[in-house]
Amino acid sequence: MALLRSFLMRLISTAITLFGVAVIVFVVIRVVPGNPIAMMLPPGATDADIARLQAQYGFDKSIFQQFLIWLGDVVQGDFGTSISLRQPVSELVLNRLPATLELSIMALTIAVLLGGAMALLGTRYRGTKAEGAVDIGAGMALSIPDFLWGLVLILLFGVLWPIFNISGRISPALNIDFSTNFYLFEAILRLRFDVIGDLLGHMLMPALALAIPLAAIIAQLLKQSLKETMHLDYVTLARTRGYSEHSVIIHEALPNAVLPTLTLVGVQFTFLIGGTVIIERLFSYEGLGNMAIDAVINRDLPLIQGIVILFALLFTLVNLVVDMLYVVLNPRLRHA
């Protein structure tokens, strides 16, 4: 019951946030520019085009009514037609989403593994040089954003020692007929190891660039909460009972120490997804973010708005899932 209630509260809160997002997007895209119609039309549009658009978006009505019409369209998934690509925005956006999702999840996996390993290492050998190395490494990695890591990786593994692809998502020669846009997922299902290898080769560098700062955050935070947990009496008790240091860290301290890290990883994962915008650009990876920048450069407002709303939806969803996961994993909240 308590569980259900807290889930419901989160859902309501998420709905309010999404409404706020809609208002902001509407204000930025429709209210701020001087003549939104002009920005929505390709060059060389006729007066008839203008009139049609004006009727469609209700520009003759009050700004409040315009918002309601717009919101109604958005809720139904109708973001209009892209000006530069002349296709429905929803289609374009959904075609690109899988590429960005695959990249983000790959980056998250790397970050969790890398950061978790560093945290455990630093805790196991706390007070030694190994912990110092973890601290310094994490501190450095943390202060450099993904954009710079991407450039550094391009220089190191694309130019100096070119073993990875630093451009694109897949080699054209290997572009087998995919039936979905989840290339990696599909390649794994079809057991095309050559394709898997090629996809991973393309994905590894951008994913690593996105993962390094998050890995550093996980390493720092998890290590800190592990160390705090190691001082609690129940961990001392486990030690006096003959468990090894290793087993104490993994079985006793870790389950309790993950909880605060988990909340943070949720927020940071949304930052990571946000980072794909520039990283995809940097590595010419054909995802949503790359498309977003093109859309901005081409002043393709319907497309921009579709992408922004999709990102916002994704972010709130991630936060919602993390919040619920936190409740499920924490017995104190589960049985409150």
Binding site: R126, G127, L232, D233, Y234, T236, L237, A238, R239, T240, R241, G242, Y243, S244, E252, P255, N256, L329, N330, P331, R332, H335
Partner: protein, 289 residues
Amino acid sequence: MRPFLSIRNLSVALKNGGLILRNVSLDVAVGKVHGLVGESGAGKSMIGKSVLGTLPRALQITGGEIWLDGVDLLSIPPAQRRKRIGATAALIPQDPLTALNPTRRIGPQITRRLVDILGWTKADAQARALELLEEVQIADPARVMRNYPHELSGGMRQRILIASAFAAKPKLIIADEPTTALDVTVQKQILRLIADMQARHGSALLFVTHDLGVVSKVCDALSVLYAGKVVEDAQMRRFFCRPVHPYSRALLAATPTYTNPTGSLMPVPQSVIDAVEREVVQHDRRWRA
């Protein structure tokens, strides 16, 4: 024949040099309760931690012997020491709120080590846990085994910790301020329970506390510590009737009691503090020379 726990000339120091324990020696025989008394910073908890091998990382044992059941723990390799301690000793910790893993149910917290470390069968461990919870007077032990720690009161948790400490029939129990976090009425129940369990199992009990009142209720003998040095070692009754060391006397005089109607309290006089400080300095000088 040595007593069950015999600490000889134990010294503990900060890794950067400061002394925490200065040549502490004490014996606890099977079936006896030995109190360790002192103010905060006196190092009383560090003795128990040295025995159990849970000293903070900034500290290290710099000398002495800890004989447990005829073996000097400091002369055997760490892994072996850990096993020995796990099998023969147990800790009752201070704060029942942090001494149980919040993410795990009570049952496994008692039974897991019996299975993992001591090789019991699951059914045996389960039966033993139920039996113990009954022994520490917990109603409906089967239900409590399925509870999470946060669902139980502080007093209940301390009972569970006591039950858990006695689970593997240890010969030595170290209780580190086990009632400091509790209300007096609960404290009384818990103190009685610890005394009962100790008597029934015939374990040796090392009882760390800052409260002379508590000592007079549960201990057979005690050591008074100041700055990591034992200033007085005495049988319990003798200590309260005729404390020998001026610091002990001052400590007794500073303890408020409601039976004293005039209520005059003597703070520990500076002269006494100076005297013990001098003793400590002399000790250090002798020891360095």
